[in-house]
C-alpha cells in the first residue's frame, strides 16, 4: 500500500503550532513525578528465581551439602569454579572417606551467573541467590572461598534429605558404618 504524504498546511509550515505544542509537552513532563530510582538508597525487589551470584548452602542440620563431585566445575562455561576434593584418605574420626570439598572457590569476576552449576548439582548444594552487585577492591578479594560461600549461602531447608534417609535405611538394615 502506498501512503500518500499529505502536503503540509500553512499552519504546519509556519512551524509555530509545533513550537507551542513542544512547550506544552515539555512543561507537562517538567511537573510530572520523576521515575528515577535513587539506587544505593532505593533498590528494586529481586523476584524469586532470579539468577544472581552462586553460593553454597547447608541443610537444616548445618551440614555442607557439597560432595565434591566436581560436576559444576566441569560444566561451568567460564571456568569460574575450582574445587579441591579431599582425596582418598579416610577421616580418622569417622573411619569414612570424606566427601566435603577441601576447598571450593568461585571466581566472581569470571562467573556469568548462568546457573548451570545449580542445574547440574546432584546434591542441590549450590544455588544462584539474589545478590547482583558484588564489589571488591582487588581481584583476589573477588575469588570467594568455601567459608565465604557457605556463609553467604546460609541454610536452605532440604525437603528430601537424601543422605539422612540413606543413613536411616542403613541403620534399619543393620549395615555397619
Amino acid at each position: 500500500m502506498i501512503v500518500k504524504r499529505p502536503p503540509l498546511t500553512i499552519l504546519e509550515r509556519l512551524y509555530v503550532p509545533a513550537i507551542l505544542n513542544g512547550f506544552a509537552v515539555t512543561i507537562r513532563h517538567f511537573f510530572q513525578k520523576s521515575v528515577t530510582m535513587q539506587y544505593p538508597e532505593q533498590k528494586w525487589t529481586v523476584p524469586d528465581g532470579y539468577r544472581g551470584a552462586p553460593y553454597l548452602v547447608k541443610d537444616q542440620e548445618g551440614r555442607t551439602k557439597c560432595v565434591s563431585c566436581q560436576l559444576c566445575e566441569f560444566v561451568c562455561p567460564p571456568k569460574a569454579i575450582k574445587i579441591i576434593p579431599p582425596g582418598p584418605t579416610p577421616n580418622p574420626a569417622t573411619g569414612n572417606v570424606e566427601k566435603l570439598p577441601r576447598e571450593f572457590e568461585i571466581n566472581m569476576l569470571r562467573c556469568i551467573f548462568c546457573g548451570y552449576c545449580q542445574e547440574v548439582c546432584p546434591e542441590e548444594a549450590i544455588f544462584l541467590m539474589k545478590d547482583y552487585s558484588l564489589t571488591g577492591s582487588s581481584r583476589k578479594e573477588m575469588i570467594y572461598n568455601k567459608e565465604k560461600l557457605l556463609e553467604l549461602g546460609g541454610t536452605l531447608p532440604d525437603q528430601t534429605q537424601k543422605w539422612k534417609r540413606k543413613e536411616q535405611e542403613a541403620v534399619a538394615q543393620g549395615v555397619n558404618h
Binding site: 512547550f23 509537552v25 515539555t26 513532563h29 517538567f30 513525578k33 520523576s34 521515575v35 528515577t36
Partner: protein, 344 residues
C-alpha cells in the same frame, strides 16, 4: 585623584564585580541545564554533591582540572592552544557594554563597564570574533570531524549574523541612538514602551539568530554528536574542553543580557519607581537584581528549548537563515522606516 585615575579605578572595580558574578553564573547555568533537562525527561539529575546538588560545579571543576590534558600528536599546537581562549573571550567582551544597572548613587557611576556610544556596533564586531575560536579549533585539530564542525559553524554563524544585525536596525531607528544605555532609557516608562512589544518581529528574529550564534539546539550543528562525534571540540580534553563548554554558556549569558537590554527594558521595571536611574544604593541594587532576573528567564528559555526540539537539517538551517529570516528582517526594516517616515 585625577579623573583618569578615578575612571581606571571604577572600571577595574566594575570588571572585578562583573567577573565575580559572571563566573558563578556560568557554573550554575550548567547545573540548571542538567537539572532542567532531567526534570523535562522525568529524571532527577545531579543531586548528590551538596544540598540539592548545588555544589556540583565544584565537583565538575575539580574533575576537569584533574583530568589529563591530552594534546594529540597530529594537531597544530599553537592554534590548538589558542582556540579555547578565543571562544571564551568574546563572550566576556560583549558583557562590557551591557548596562546591568543604572547607578548606585544619585548621578553617580553608571553601572556599565564601557558606556560606548556605538555599543551595538561594538557588540556585533565582537560577536563575529566568536566564530574564530570554533573555526580555529576545527582547523587546529587536524582531523575530519572537528574540521566539519568548524566549517559548519563558520557558515552558520556568518549566515545568522546578517539576520541578527538586520533585526536590530528597527530598534535603533525607534530609539535614535546606538548607545545601549539610551536603549534602556527609551524603554523606561511602561510596559508598552518595551521594544519586545514595539518591535516583536525584531525580537523573534534576534532570538532565533541568538540560538544559532551560540550554537544551541535546534542549531547545534557544529557539535552535533550523532554525526560529528563532538564536532569542533572532539580532540579537546580536560580544562581546554571545559573552556569551550564554559564559552558556550558565557555566550548564552551574553546573548540573554543583550536581549534583555535591547528588548526587555534592561534594568528598568515600570513598577515601584524602578523606571528611573536609582538615587540610592538600595534601589540601585534592586535594579541590578531586576536585570539579572530578566536574564535568568531568558536563560531558562534557552535551556528549555534545547530539551524540546530536534536539530535542524543543515540545508534547512541555511534555508531558514538566508531565505526566511534575511528577507523578513529586510521587510521589517522597511516597514519601520516607512512608519517612522510617515509619522515624521
Amino acid at each position: 585623584m585625577t579623573e583618569h585615575q578615578q575612571f581606571l579605578l571604577f572600571s577595574l572595580v566594575k570588571i572585578a564585580c562583573v567577573i565575580a558574578v559572571l563566573m558563578p553564573m556560568i557554573a550554575y547555568a550548567v547545573v540548571a541545564e542538567r537539572r532542567i533537562s532531567a526534570f523535562i525527561q522525568n529524571r532527577i539529575g545531579p543531586n548528590r554533591v551538596g544540598p540539592l546538588g548545588l555544589l556540583q560545579p565544584l565537583a565538575d571543576g575539580v574533575k576537569f582540572i584533574l583530568k589529563e590534558d591530552f594534546t594529540p600528536d597530529h594537531v597544530r599546537k599553537a592554534y590548538f592552544w589558542l582556540a579555547p581562549a578565543i571562544t571564551m573571550i568574546p563572550a566576556f567582551m560583549t558583557i562590557a557594554v551591557i548596562p546591568f544597572g543604572s547607578s548606585l548613587t544619585a548621578g553617580g557611576q553608571k553601572m556599565v563597564i564601557a558606556d560606548l556610544n556605538v555599543g551595538i556596533l561594538y557588540t556585533f564586531g565582537i560577536v563575529s570574533l566568536g566564530v574564530y575560536g570554533i573555526v580555529l579549533a576545527g582547523y587546529a585539530s587536524n582531523s575530519k570531524y572537528p574540521f566539519l564542525g568548524g566549517i559548519r559553524s563558520s557558515s552558520q554563524m556568518i549566515s545568522y549574523e546578517i539576520a541578527m544585525g538586520m533585526s536590530v536596525i528597527p530598534v535603533f531607528m525607534l530609539v535614535g541612538d546606538l548607545n545601549l544605555s539610551s536603549v534602556v532609557g527609551y524603554q523606561a516608562g511602561g510596559f508598552h514602551r518595551w521594544l519586545i512589544l514595539r518591535a516583536p518581529l525584531s525580537f523573534a528574529i534576534f532570538m532565533v539568530a541568538a540560538f544559532a550564534e551560540t550554537n544551541r539546539l535546534p542549531f547545534d550543528l557544529p557539535e552535533s554528536e550523532q554525526e560529528l562525534v563532538g564536532g569542533y571540540h572532539t580532540e579537546y580534553s580536560s580544562m581546554k574542553f571545559a573552556l569551550f563548554f564554559m564559552g558556550e554558556y558565557a555566550n548564552m549569558i551574553a546573548a540573554s543580557a543583550m536581549m534583555v537590554t535591547l528588548f526587555l527594558g534592561g534594568w528598568s521595571l515600570p513598577m515601584f519607581g524602578l523606571d528611573h536611574p536609582a538615587a540610592s544604593i538600595g534601589l540601585g541594587l534592586v535594579q541590578i537584581g531586576v536585570f539579572l532576573a530578566k536574564m535568568l528567564v531568558l536563560m531558562v528559555v534557552f535551556i528549555w528549548v534545547r530539551w524540546m526540539w530536534p536539530r535542524f537539517r543543515y540545508d534547512q538551517l541555511m534555508d531558514l537563515g538566508w531565505r526566511r529570516f534575511i528577507p523578513l528582517a529586510l521587510a521589517n526594516i522597511f516597514l519601520y522606516a516607512t512608519v517612522l517616515w510617515l509619522k515624521a
